[in-house]
């Protein structure tokens, strides 16, 4: 469609958003992501039946955690669209980019502190 959307987004493809784990989202923030979105199929249209519903629950859990640890739950969001909705995708990216610009960079980047551990393997 050759639509324009902000270049600062890194896309990671998964066969179904049901594959996205809470740990994937948290680790993205640990590594300094300013915002993370999970983009799944329309509810009821999930090819694997309820994968996107699990994803929604996990995103909500991460929102809650981020609010409580001082990162801010607004930095993560779940969106639903079908593969034909290119225009909507561009819209979504603009939306989250604007939101993150509003919120500023993640407090993790350039923080005085650093909580470390050996890099964890991704969980399933």
């Amino acid at each position: 469609m050759r639509l324009q959307y902000p270049p600062n987004v890194r896309i990671i493809e998964v066969p179904c958003t049901g594959k996205v784990d809470v740990m994937h989202l948290l680790m993205a923030f640990e590594y300094g992501a300013d915002g993370v979105i999970v983009v799944g199929c329309m509810e009821g249209d999930c090819h694997y039946s309820v994968g996107n519903l699990y994803a929604k629950k996990r995103v909500n859990r991460v929102k809650e955690i981020l609010d409580k640890v001082g990162i801010g739950g607004d930095r993560v969001a779940m969106y639903n669209l079908s593969s034909g909705m290119g225009g909507r995708f561009a819209e979504i990216v603009k939306e989250i980019t604007n939101k993150v610009l509003e919120l500023g960079p993640s407090p993790i980047k350039g923080a005085a502190g650093q909580a470390t551990r050996p890099i964890a393997e991704a969980t399933t």
């Binding site: 923030f29 640990e30 409580k68 640890v69 407090p107 005085a112 502190g113 650093q114 909580a115 551990r117």
Partner: protein, 222 residues
Amino acid sequence: MIKAVPKPLEEVLGLVKDFNKVLIAGCDGCVTVCEAGGLKEAKVLASALRLYFTQAGRQAQVDETSVTRQCEKEYLAQLSENMDTYDAVVSLACGVGVQYLAEVYNNKIVYPGVDTCFMGVNEERGVYSERCQACGRCILAETGGVCPIARCSKRMLNGPCGGSDKGKCEISKDVPCGWELIYERLKTLGQLDRFEKPVDPKDWTTSRDGGPRKIVREDLRI
């Protein structure tokens, strides 16, 4: 199995916020089954704590691990290698495991990371309900396989009470009347005659009321 729920994150943060080296110790037993304190949950908690410490400007180290079960010293021993590194441990095991870990590593600060709730069943994923109160003298043979101590809010042995309403307990529509369940089961089994004989007061010495309990099986010891 034992059912537990994760403690609110803010409560755990409050416990460990002043430490610099924290270990989150999960358990592969009961708390894994009810998704409260297994390795998966330990990783999530550790990550949340790392984010917290970092944004708070602290130099901290948060590790996660899990052992087969924390109610066994043999498995707790596996933690000994690095235990000295930590200022505090958050154990995600049930209350039993937290205590045993604290006993084995008795000079370490050990905090609970879950609230241990009851012994019960998995009705479906994420829905658990109580079945046993460990009274120490099982009477399920007399009540058609439904326990009045665990499932009657008043632990009556001669129920139901006058508050039993359309199969529900007076305290909530979400709680089935334990004695109605017993009645239905005895009816199915053709044992309703059990109902009319008064049951004598229970000997509570084998339950919590008798004091902390211990089992010694001489047949298993040499």
